[in-house]
């Protein structure tokens, strides 16, 4: 009885700690006047409108969305053949390529960012808007690689055997058996890469920081001139986007399994 109460209390405390900064930001984002006060004074959604009405914020929003969509697509396109090859072919050396795919995510991000800065600078494309798409695509390739590797492992090998026995060649098996089974994992890999790219600051800053303003870059730049409720509104927008995207992944896929739990027990 006491134990159960203590567990509830601990979980509630963790939830509160995790939610507290977000709650305060949500609170200040509805202030009526252009000041950050909490508890909020008055109620106004004007600051959310500002994101779309003010050209600077609107451009940053669209730049961020465009970069996130393109780079998440690139990450999936790079990860898919790699994960397929690792699953379908027997080639121990291919693990090395897999390791390269994991590396950007494990190392401190500032290192990858600095690598890209030197690279684009040497290549003569420093500051070009498309460089951030490639940079993010490579930086986040780990996420679809992980989800797709899980997805391929989950495919029942006898399905592939059966298709082969019935005379299907490799491309047909891929199209009719493998791709439909792997699609949810592709989508979740895309979703993870998309949300993280949307939030990414340091790689974007070091590649296109002086030519393109993404939302995180714009928030950071405006922090210098003081805090405004618009920034709080943008922060809330980010939390909502992340929660909606991951909620959808959970709705249409098995989130615990994607994050490494065994498939659910039969009970």
């Amino acid at each position: 009885m006491i134990a159960r109460f203590a567990i509830r209390l601990f979980l509630a405390a963790m939830a509160l700690l995790l939610a507290a900064p977000l709650a305060v930001v949500a609170g200040v984002s509805i202030n009526e006047k252009k000041s950050l006060t909490f508890p909020p004074q008055g109620f106004s959604l004007a600051w959310y409108g500002e994101i779309f009405a003010e050209a600077g914020w609107r451009n940053a929003l669209f730049a961020s969305l465009g970069i996130a969509l393109a780079s998440a697509a690139l990450a999936v396109i790079v990860a898919l053949p790699l994960a397929w090859f690792l699953w379908r072919r027997h080639a121990p050396w291919a693990r090395l390529v897999q390791l390269l795919g994991f590396a950007p995510f494990v190392l401190p991000p500032v290192i990858t960012a600095l690598g890209f800065l030197s690279f684009w600078n040497a290549a003569g494309f420093y500051g070009a808007a498309w460089t951030v798409v490639i940079s993010h695509g490579i930086f986040f390739v780990t996420l679809p690689l992980v989800t797709l590797t899980l997805g391929f492992e989950a495919i029942d090998g006898s399905l592939v055997e059966a298709a082969a026995t019935m005379g299907a060649d490799e491309p047909t098996i891929l199209r009719t058996v493998v791709l439909p089974l792997i699609l949810p994992y592709m989508i979740s890999g895309f979703a993870f890469a998309f949300v993280l790219s949307l939030n990414e600051y340091i790689v974007a800053y070091m590649t296109v920081g002086f030519t393109v303003e993404t939302l995180p870059i714009r928030i950071f730049n405006s922090l210098r001139y003081g805090y405004t409720p618009t920034m709080a509104a943008v922060a809330v927008l980010f939390v909502v986007i992340a929660a909606v995207v991951f909620g959808l992944v959970a709705r249409f896929g098995d989130l615990p399994k994607l994050l490494g739990a065994w498939s659910p027990r039969e009970d």
Binding site: P108, N121, G157
Partner: protein
């Protein structure tokens, strides 16, 4: 399913494209950074190819030693606190029903994916004088007037732990949710209290996983580049902040690259160590 070894050239085609992309846009930039760390800085310009060790020699100064010591100590403190909170939390989470786990996981992922800019902004608001938590304390009469708790060491520590906590949970989650439930059931049958079975069965069984997670979170915290800047004072700047500062504001790419190479070596050594720990766990 039979996995065949690639034989013909066309069999290699699927891996050629990802391999090319990763070599071109990850290995090459990385190698370039390594090279730049030996280049000579041109004041006012960028850098010119050379082979000098001056950038590495700067590591030997007291200033750098302080920054390094502070970065490592801070990252370690963050890792220990985050894992100490995350381990019991993840244990409880993994014992919930799947349906209950999902909202928690969505929430944790949402917090984890938040930009450091937003975490920094949120915590500096929460710790500020005008909108901060001290206003609530004033409201309930515990304090006379609101005070500002940021910038400072406490704010940096809090922000970084906040950022690291969901990461620690998600690193621990696979091993905890795969833990054989009969282990604790056996302990309970033999009369151990839940708390006792947690400390005498669960914690020792996952000793290596805990250590590996501390190392992973340590590397993660080492990479934090904005929170020390947004929530701390210059004396709380870490190696990652310094690298950014040198690269962007001081235009000293060679020195920034040398520090980055150093950070890579430290991180890689630690990641390899944690992988070895993880493998040991898998065998026993």
């Amino acid at each position: 399913m039979i996995r065949t070894a690639p034989r013909r050239l066309v069999d290699y085609a699927p891996i050629a494209w990802p391999a090319l992309m990763l070599v071109l846009f990850f290995v090459l930039p990385f190698g370039l950074m390594l090279a730049v760390s030996f280049f000579r800085r041109v004041p006012g310009g960028f850098y010119q190819p050379d082979f000098v060790l001056a950038n590495y020699a700067r590591f030997l100064t007291a200033f750098f030693g302080n920054v390094l010591g502070f970065s490592l100590g801070l990252a370690l403190l963050v890792a220990v606190i985050a894992v100490a909170l995350a381990f019991p939390f993840t244990y409880l989470l993994s014992r919930m029903r799947r349906r209950q786990q999902v909202p928690w996981l969505v929430f944790l992922l949402a917090v984890l994916s938040l930009s450091e800019v937003i975490i920094g902004f949120s915590w500096s608001t929460l710790l500020s004088r005008t909108a901060g938590v001290t206003n609530l304390l004033v409201l309930i009469g515990l304090m006379d007037q609101p005070v500002s708790l940021s910038p400072g060491f406490g704010a940096v520590l809090t922000g970084m732990t906040y950022q690291a906590f969901p990461y620690a949970v998600l690193v621990l989650y696979p091993s905890l949710s795969r833990l054989d439930p009969t282990l604790t059931e056996a302990a309970r049958t033999l009369g151990a209290s839940p708390l006792r079975s947690f400390f005498t069965v669960v914690v020792p069984a996952l000793r290596n996983a805990i250590l590996a997670t501390v190392i992973m979170v340590f590397v993660f915290a080492l990479g934090s580049y904005l929170l020390p800047q947004l929530l701390g004072r210059p004396q709380q700047w870490t190696l990652s902040v310094l690298i950014t500062d040198q690269a962007i504001y001081q235009s000293n790419m060679p020195f920034a690259a040398a520090m980055a190479v150093f950070l890579v070596l430290v991180s890689l050594a630690l990641v390899v160590l944690s992988t070895l720990l993880g493998q040991k766990e898998g065998r026993t």
